[in-house]
């Protein structure tokens, strides 16, 4: 429960009113967050394609992600301009570290005040009451709450770094992260490449890894969790001027984890970001990043195996491949078992 909103029924009511404020969803009703998740895991913001893929995959998320990514892999790729913080409209921002955080807490549409009891009363034909964030990419502030731009808020990381006597581990140089479309991860990924791998990580794997990482940490607190709508620009092919081509909902989280800084207790800040409004993805990615920034393994896994474990298409494809015939290779192992010593 967030301290600043604990006592305010009015705020809770306002948060609830945002749920479903988007009106009739354009695609699969009641499945907006699932559609967001498919887009995030595919690394492609294409809600219509995701909804279509979910239908064609009969709801198998892994398969839907594959369909979207295979489709996108055949399209030409253009590098976007770096996303400008000033263009990011915040729809929700909470800090679990400080009640009074500079820039303020913005509850937005929170899933936390809705009942977890299954509602049998909803009419079949009405769209299900779903948590549709602030109601679609193009609708950043439906309730007119005057939520700020990202630049107006500052970041918790800066706050901690500025505080006297608080050691914060130097973040690893982000490096010039390759687009995973262009380059493989390599044996020593930059932090940006790590972020790219986590951002499109498989949700269940991210959450599982974050949990085993948390079990081995002393401290991990969500410094801030933000949901907003980012504008994406590409350079115009003739003039070179940035042209806005998309508005993408994003979730980002900063997790303050424990770390040893200059021989004393301090913090390592982990960052997690994901397309769409599945906040859990950003939080889990931030926990994994904080753990790696602290120089610790993620539940016993070094960085590369950990990143490999969240590569959903690779992991599900490999598990699925077990149903392919293995007659020749299995016979080889069977021979080992049946003739252990061998004719020497």
């Amino acid at each position: 429960m967030y301290a600043t909103v604990q006592a305010s029924e009015r705020l809770i009511a306002a948060s609830r009113s945002l749920i479903g404020a988007a009106g009739a969803p354009a695609t699969a009703p009641g499945l907006e967050l699932l559609r967001d998740q498919v887009c995030a895991e595919a690394g492609v913001w294409a809600p219509e394609a995701a909804a279509r893929a979910l239908r064609q995959a009969r709801g198998d998320v892994g398969r839907a992600v594959t369909l979207v990514r295979v489709w996108a892999a055949t399209l030409p790729a253009h590098a976007a301009e770096p996303c400008d913080d000033a263009s990011v409209r915040i729809t929700r921002r909470v800090s679990a570290a400080f009640a009074d955080i500079p820039g303020g807490q913005w509850l937005g549409s929170s899933p936390d005040f809705d009942s977890r009891l299954l509602d049998w009363g909803e009419a079949d034909e009405s769209p299900a009451a779903v948590l549709d964030g602030a109601g679609g990419a193009a609708n950043g502030d439906p309730a007119g709450t005057g939520a700020p731009r990202r630049t107006a808020l500052g970041r918790v990381g800066g706050l901690l770094r500025a505080a006297p006597g608080v050691g914060v581990a130097e973040p690893r140089d982000p490096g010039d992260g390759p687009d995973p479309f262009d380059e493989p991860l390599g044996s020593n990924p930059t932090r940006e490449a790590r972020q790219a791998a986590l951002a499109r990580g498989e949700t269940g794997a991210l959450v599982a890894l974050a949990n085993v990482a948390l079990a081995g940490r002393r401290e991990a607190v969500a410094g801030e969790l933000c949901v907003g709508v980012a504008e994406l620009c590409v350079p115009h092919p003739r003039s070179g001027r940035p042209v806005r081509v998309a508005e993408v909902p994003v979730s980002e989280a900063t997790v303050c984890g424990d770390a040893e800084v200059d021989g004393t207790a301090g913090f390592a800040l982990g960052f997690g970001i994901s397309a769409g409004r599945v906040e859990r993805r950003a939080l889990a990615a931030a926990v994994i990043d904080a753990t790696l920034e602290a120089g610790a393994p993620v539940g016993g896994l070094a960085e590369l195996p950990a990143l490999a474990a969240v590569d959903g298409l690779a992991t599900s494809g490999f598990v699925d491949h077990l149903r392919l015939p293995h007659f020749a290779s299995f016979a080889s192992y069977l021979d080992r078992v049946r003739n252990p010593e061998g004719p020497r």
Binding site: T66, R69, V70, A72, A73, T74, P76, P180, F181, D182, E183, P184, L185, G186, S187, N188, A302, E303, L304, P305, A308, L313, A314, S316, G317, F318, V319, D320, H321, L324, P325, H326, F327, A328, S329, F330, A331, S332, Y333, L334, D335, R336, N339, P340, E341, G342, P343, R344
Partner: protein, 290 residues
Amino acid sequence: MRPPTVAELAARHARSAPYAYLDERSKREVRRAILKALCIPGRQVPFASREMPIARGWGSGGLQVTLSCVGPGDVVKVIDQGDDGSFNAAAMRELIGSSADARTTTRTAEATLIQSRHRIPELPLRADQLLILQLPHPEPLRRVVSDPRRAARLHEAGDYTAAWLDLYDDEARHGAPRSGADHPVLVDRRALASPSPVPRHDVLRLSDRPHPILLGAGRLERIVAIPPHTDVRPLAFDDRPLRPEAFGGSCSRCGSETSYRVERELGGGRWECSDTDACAERRRGREAPT
């Protein structure tokens, strides 16, 4: 005849979909990795694996290598466990053939490109044929060195102590390595590599071949190459050579006693060649009047 230019190929192709499925940028990425891999035999060369219309772990790496090499004059054969009829092999053969406008075959001798999973074709291949293997685990040290970053450093130093110790442990405790298929090999006496999960029968047939072998790992984004006439030997102590699989009988179809055979049913006593074309070829040879 002069080989066709890219523009001529594109014009002849006359379709909006790229020739051989992959766009040219992706093919260039794969081809660069192939060339680099050929220059450093047995080494793992990273490449940006594309999402393919088959699942990762199902031959997506082999498929990308094949699609980056195939031309309209090629004849393509795809086998899984030695069998052309396996559904995954058939699906890839259809995709390659149709998208690259190339003829497909099940006859080893007719093929110019052979993509295979878990087997080396048994009929001898010529210098003008290219063998492409699907590679699930490119890192031969993965069982003894858990961190890929450390494994990469050990490869740089040529330090395979961990692999030798593992082998020694197996020899001391079991009297033989425990590996079934996928026994690690030393390529060009330098680089430890995974031959892909081919049986030991095939591991022993990898050395000094007249054609290149390209191994593609799509899931783990690596390409490994064995150039023609390269020395490839299994990791083994001098006095403990790698033993091929033993079989309980000759092939019930072609009668071969030297092929790699698989028992149809555990303990059933009916053994069959796993390389279906080699088996058929032997039967054809027997039936043909001499």
